[in-house]
Every structure is written in structure tokens, then in C-alpha cells.
């Protein structure tokens, strides 16, 4: 039976009505907000785990946690940050901004949109509940390598597997929605090559998601059947091969790192032209570079596995392919710099974060080139150098880009200006904390300090203390960020105009601030 509107009790308790509104919403702005809130909550959870192991690593020896709990923290930190913080943050941003940027009234499949969000809280409930189970949470690293995750995995590994399945379903449905929206709901006159770059990067990201999330789902399904149903995909005893897990995982894993960075490229390509007051330099080459990076990401997974004894010819192939990615990435960095060249630059907080993104992401890119050199990788492999590299690409690449996006569009979302002074303090303290945390890891890593081990040799002690102090500072800056956002929601430093930034271009700025709940009923004409 279909419930008619008049059968619903007319008067509900306002709290219940409020809760139901958020549970049942199909509005792209509200679902975007839900994604962003979940993502920030997961960011704090993952960050708290980082605080636990940085506290332990501040001094050599065992002080606060044992080796097993340390491993659980490292594992969950990686999973929560990748699947809980970064990916939902960008999906939330896409929900908010893609319809506004292409002049669509909503996402193409609003109810599917609601479903793909509400899967996520259950996924993370399952993942995090493993902390309280007998035998502890998964402790084999976020890469889930067999046989650590199959033969030797704790019982709670099954909760991780189903959690990953749910996250995968959510991401795939979200990606389908974004692609269908971009292909069908563009305003008249907005051709593909007129789309804002953020929309372009998300379109390509969504295709990556559809291609690789099912592969991860397949990998964890094989883990599940190996654990319980007598198969031997990854067990040599039954004719399988544990190294094959790494191949399947990294076939997903390398495109995954571009899933986390491409939307960040898009954000920087929106913000830098605004505050340089120039058009983006090389729009077409930006689109082609993004597509090339996405395509190349499918043929470089072997660089995660140089030390597994692959044939020389495979090492050479993966080494050269990986280095080839530096070319389109270099095109992008060049274009951002050329956009700023002789522009009328101002340095509001979003621009500061975008600049921090370009500079520090490039540092991470260079350490990536070092790691791509197969013979050198035998030295760097599984050391803190890798940790330094991945955090230099992910923190400035994904988190800084995300924060730049929040500062940039917050006036459009809330209708209020955030506190610019506090925003600048946030930026500089985050830059300080970030570099203090991760730069010393280059040196401990080159010195041979291995990852994922609770204790270390005495010579690494001073640099680890520096890293831990930096991590504490970086952790505190998140609360400053939270304060600034809440303050802006509650009025901030005054009302924002519809245009917000005088150099900003795009359909979203033609709407009043805050953006009305329903926008672009009549598609705007783009010329």
C-alpha cells in the first residue's frame, strides 16, 4: 500500500520531525551536508587513532600501548581516513557543488543518493565495532595483506570485510549518480568542454570508482571465502598465492589514490583563478592531463610490489609507467603556476590552502618519483620514507584541498563570511604542524626505520619526538577549524553577498547566499 500524504499524522514532535527530515532527505544540498559532517567525524576518529600511536612513538620502548593495539590503531587509522574521511568528504562536496556548477536542480537519482549516504554510518559502525570484539580489531595494516588477514586475521576481520563491502556499494552508487547527473542534467549551452574543472575531475574520479571499487569488493570476498569456505585464493597450501592478493589489492589501490587526489586538483583549479583574477591557464590541457593520470593509474600498481620478486622486465615496466605520471601531473602544476603569473593575487584563506596544496603536493610528488625508481625502492620500501611520501600527497593533496573548498564555498553554503583572521591562523598552524610531523619522517625512513612497528632503535628517538609534537599541533588545528565553521554557521563576521569573491566565476555564484534549498528549477542559459 502506498501511504498518502494525508495518512501521515499531522503533528509530530519537532525533534522526530527534524530527525526524519535528515534521514529521509533527497535534497542534494542536505545530503552533501550529511556527507561532510560524517567525514569530519571520521576525520576526528582517525586523527585520534593517530594521536595514540604518535604518543607511543614519541619515545623508544613501550610506554602506553602494546604492539597488538598499536597495529590495530595503524590499521584502522588508514581505513578510516581513506574510506571515512577523504572519500565521503569529496562525495559530499560533489553533492553540494556539481548540481550548482552545471545548473541542475538536483542530482539525477535523488533517492539513490539518500541510500548511498545512509549505508555509510552502518559501514563504519561495523568497522569500528571491531575494536570492542574479542581478539581485537584488524591488525594487519590497511592493505589487508594475505595471509595476515586470512590465516592469521582476528575474528573481527569479517566485520571489516562486510564494512568494506558496504563502503564499496555506497561509493559505486554515489559515482553512478554523479556520472548520470553530469551527462544528463547540464544546463543548456554547457557543453562538456565548458564544464568547471571540479566537475571534470569528479566525472573522471567517478569512472575510476566504478572501475576499481568492485575489484576491492572482489578481493575482500576472496578473503572471506578463504577464511570460511575452504577456498585457497591466497593460500599456497591449496595452490593459491598470497602475492596475488597484493596484485588484486593494488590494482584497486593505485587508482584509489587518484580517486582521493583528482577532486583536489579540481578544487585548486577553481580557487586559484578566482584569487589570481585570471582565467585558468590551459583548461583543455588540464582536462586531458586529468584523463591521462586516470588511465595511467591502471598500469602502475606494480610499483607497490617491487620487492616481491617480480621479473626484471615487470619492474622496468612499472618503473617507467610510474614516472610517466609525473608528466601530466607536471602539466597541472605548470598550469596553476601560469594562472598565477602576473595575476592580481590576494591571499584569502581558500587561496592560502590552495597554494599550500600546490607547494606541498609537489614535494610529495617528488618523493614519489624517488620511490618509483625500482632499485632505490628496495631501500625505501616499508620504511617511514613511504609514510612521509603518502602523507605529503594525501594531507596537502586531499585534506588541504578539502579545507580550501570549505573556506571557498562556506559563504555560499551558510550565507555568512567566516572569520578571515582565524582562518589564516588555522592555515599557518596547519602548515607548521604538518611539516613538523611529516618532514622528519623522510629522514627516519632514509635511515631505515621500518613502518608499522611499535618500537624503534634509539638513533631515531629525537626525530620521532619532533614528529609527535607536530602531530599534536596538527591535531589541535582541527578543533580551530571546527570552531571557525560553527562560528560561520552562526553568523560569522557578517552576511555574504551572492558573488562572495569578486574574482569568482561560475553558475554557483549567480545564486544568492545562502544557496536556497531548491535552486535552478529553470535551467540557466550558458553561452
Amino acid at each position: 500500500m502506498i501511504a498518502h500524504a494525508d495518512t501521515i499524522p499531522p503533528a509530530r514532535h519537532p525533534l522526530i520531525a527534524w530527525i526524519l527530515r535528515w534521514i529521509l532527505t533527497t535534497n542534494h544540498k542536505e545530503i552533501g551536508t550529511l556527507y561532510l559532517c560524517l567525514s569530519f567525524a571520521m576525520f576526528i576518529v582517525g586523527g585520534a587513532m593517530a594521536m595514540v600511536f604518535r604518543l607511543e612513538l614519541a619515545q623508544p620502548g613501550l610506554q602506553y600501548v602494546g604492539a597488538d593495539f598499536y597495529n590495530q590503531m595503524v590499521t584502522l587509522h588508514g581505513l578510516v581516513m581513506v574510506f571515512g574521511a577523504v572519500m565521503p568528504a569529496f562525495v559530499g562536496l560533489a553533492n553540494w557543488m556539481v548540481p550548482l556548477m552545471i545548473g541542475a536542480p538536483d542530482m539525477a537519482l535523488p533517492r539513490l543518493n539518500n541510500f548511498s549516504f545512509w549505508i555509510l554510518p552502518f559501514a563504519f559502525f561495523m568497522l569500528l565495532s571491531s575494536l570492542f570484539m574479542q581478539g581485537g580489531a584488524p591488525n594487519f595494516g590497511w592493505t589487508l595483506y594475505a595471509p595476515l588477514s586470512t590465516t592469521y586475521g582476528p575474528p573481527s576481520t569479517d566485520y571489516l570485510i562486510f564494512g568494506v563491502h558496504l563502503m564499496g556499494i555506497s561509493s559505486i552508487l554515489g559515482a553512478i549518480n554523479i556520472i548520470v547527473t553530469i551527462f544528463n542534467l547540464r544546463a543548456p549551452g554547457m557543453t562538456l568542454m565548458k564544464m568547471p574543472l571540479f566537475v571534470w575531475t569528479w566525472l573522471i574520479t567517478a569512472f575510476l570508482l566504478i572501475m576499481v571499487m568492485p575489484v576491492l569488493a572482489g578481493a575482500v570476498t576472496m578473503m572471506l571465502t578463504d577464511r570460511h569456505f575452504g577456498t585457497s585464493f591466497f593460500s599456497a597450501a591449496g595452490g593459491g598465492d598470497p602475492v596475488m592478493f597484493q596484485h588484486v589489492f593494488w590494482f584497486f589501490g593505485h587508482p584509489e589514490v587518484y580517486i582521493m587526489i583528482l577532486p583536489g586538483f579540481g578544487v585548486a583549479s577553481q580557487i586559484i583563478p578566482t584569487f589570481a583574477r585570471k582565467k585558468l591557464f590551459g583548461y583543455h590541457s588540464m582536462v586531458y592531463a586529468t584523463a591521462s593520470i586516470a588511465i595511467l593509474s591502471f598500469v602502475v600498481w606494480g610499483h607497490h610490489m617491487f620487492t616481491t620478486g617480480m621479473p626484471l622486465v615487470a619492474e622496468l615496466f612499472f618503473m617507467y609507467m610510474t614516472m610517466l605520471i609525473a608528466v601530466p601531473t607536471g602539466v597541472k602544476v605548470f598550469n596553476w603556476v601560469a594562472t598565477m603569473w602576473r595575476g592580481s593575487m590576494t591571499y584569502e584563506t581558500p587561496m592560502l590552502f590552495a597554494l599550500g596544496f600546490v607547494v606541498m603536493f609537489t614535494i610529495g610528488g617528488f618523493s614519489g618519483l624517488m620511490l618509483a625508481i625500482a632499485p632505490a625502492d628496495f631501500q625505501y620500501h616499508d620504511t617511514f620514507f613511504v609514510v612521509a611520501h603518502l602523507h605529503y600527497v594525501l594531507y596537502p593533496g586531499a585534506i588541504f584541498a578539502m579545507m580550501a573548498a570549505v573556506y571557498y564555498w562556506l559563504p555560499k553554503w551558510t550565507g555568512n563570511m567566516y572569520n578571515e583572521r582565524l582562518g589564516k591562523i588555522h592555515f599557518w598552524s596547519a602548515v607548521f604542524g604538518l611539516n613538523l610531523t611529516f618532514f622528519p619522517m623522510h629522514f627516519t625512513g632514509l635511515g631505515g626505520m621500518p613502518r608499522r612497528i611499535v618500537d624503534y632503535a634509539l638513533p631515531y628517538a629525537d626525530l620521532n619526538m619532533v614528529s609527535s609534537v607536530g602531530a599534536g599541533i596538527l591535531g589541535l588545528t582541527q578543533f580551530l577549524f571546527l570552531y571557525i565553521v560553527v562560528d560561520a554557521i552562526r553568523g560569522g563576521t557578517g552576511k555574504a553577498t551572492g558573488q562572495v569573491w569578486d574574482g569568482a566565476e561560475g553558475l554557483e555564484w549567480t545564486l544568492p547566499s545562502p544557496a536556497p534549498l531548491h535552486s535552478f528549477h529553470k535551467p540557466p542559459q550558458v553561452d
Binding site: V180, N184, I210, P214, G218, A236, A314
Partner: protein
């Protein structure tokens, strides 16, 4: 107006279905990677996976006739290794650590196995060759690894391997290592927790990962 709306609805449905099919296809592709990987390993010898039983061919059965024609007769060293899976109550080792042999010459070596447990126990040995790309030149004519080995409580056994190294072995390989790992066949017969008294009392986990060069 309504026509355009139904048009759009149909297009949305078509695109959604198409993308969902791609997603399901990629899930299948993950499983297709398994046979693809095995084929790839067989071609490249990745991970030292050896091929199955080799027919004792002419070159192998009649090495003397071959050595007449082959002016450059080559000798290589083959080393033997053995590992026992963790928690398996077996002693398992090669009876000789290395042999020198001529290419194409069928050679026999013996592996020794003994079951410490006081129950019957079945094992299966899985071979591996180092360097990996030499795996396809080492041909096993007869091997205990082709079948499961069943040992009664306390029983011991010498298990033969007949093999030869192909004459097309690349000249940069002078030494091959043939390694076997012995795995328990049924996990239900795990001795440490299953058996009430383990033979000797000390033959449990601390003898796991037992390997002899």
C-alpha cells in the same frame, strides 16, 4: 513536455543500468584476475611456481646420447630446502643439501619426513623454485608433491623426487634452489590443540617453521 520528460527518464535509466553493469563486470574481473595471474606466472615463472608432472622425454632418459652431440656439456648445482607449515608436527628435510648434475640428466633425491604426532596426519608439499624464472627449466618426472602424504603416528618415510634440468637453461643460471613447504591437508587434524597427548610433549609450536638446509 511530457515527451521530453519521459525521454530523459529513459536516458537516465539507460545510463544507470549501463554503469551498474560495468560495476558488476569489474567485480567479475577481480575473480578473472585469478586465472589470468596463474597463466602469467606460468609464462614468466613468477614466484617460482613449477609446472606439473613432466614426461621423461628422450633428452632426459638418454642423457648419454645427448652429451655426445652436445659439445658444451654444462653442470649446474641444485640445492634443496624444506619448510614445515606452522603448527604441523612433522620433521621434514632433504637428505642431501645439494647435488651437481648435468643438464638433461635425470637425478633422484630423497626427502625425509617423520610424523611426531600420536595420530595419523596427512600433508601436502608445495614446491617452489628460486630464481623464479628458472622454474620452467626444472622438470619433475616423479615427485611426492604430486600426491598427498599420509603418515601414521610416529611413522617416518623417505620420499623420492626424480627431476632433470632442461638443456635450454639460460647460461646465467648456475644454481637453482628447489624448496618444498609441507602443509597440513585437513585443518581438523591440527595436533596441538586436537591431540590429548602430543608425542614427546615438547613437539608443538616451538618446532614450527622448522627448516633444514
Amino acid at each position: 513536455m511530457t515527451d521530453r520528460q519521459t525521454d530523459r527518464q529513459a536516458r537516465l535509466r539507460r545510463h544507470t543500468t549501463l554503469l551498474a553493469v560495468v560495476a558488476v563486470g569489474m567485480f567479475g574481473f577481480a575473480f578473472a584476475l585469478v586465472p589470468l595471474y596463474n597463466i602469467f606466472c606460468e609464462i614468466t615463472g613468477l614466484n617460482g611456481k613449477t609446472s606439473g608432472e613432466a614426461a621423461p622425454n628422450i633428452a632426459a632418459t638418454a642423457p648419454s646420447s645427448q652429451t655426445i652431440s652436445g659439445s658444451a656439456e654444462r653442470e649446474v648445482t641444485v640445492q634443496f630446502l624444506a619448510h614445515v607449515s606452522r603448527g604441523m608436527p612433522w620433521e621434514f628435510r632433504p637428505t642431501e643439501t645439494r647435488v651437481r648434475l648435468q643438464l638433461g640428466e635425470v637425478t633422484e633425491t630423497l626427502y625425509f619426513a617423520r610424523n611426531f604426532a600420536n595420530t595419523e596426519f596427512t600433508g601436502q608439499a608445495v614446491p617452489s623454485v628460486t630464481p623464479g624464472y628458472a622454474a620452467r627449466y626444472l622438470h619433475k618426472v616423479e615427485c611426492f608433491c604430486f600426491t598427498q602424504q599420509e603418515l601414521a603416528a610416529g611413522e617416518e618415510m623417505d620420499m623420492p623426487v626424480y627431476f632433470y634440468v632442461g638443456e635450454d637453461l639460460p647460461s646465467d643460471i648456475g644454481t637453482l634452489t628447489l624448496s618444498y613447504t609441507m602443509y597440513p591437508v585437513s585443518t581438523g587434524t591440527r595436533p596441538v590443540s586436537g591431540a590429548p597427548e602430543t608425542a614427546g610433549g615438547t613437539m608443538s609450536m616451538d618446532h614450527s617453521e622448522h627448516s633444514v638446509l
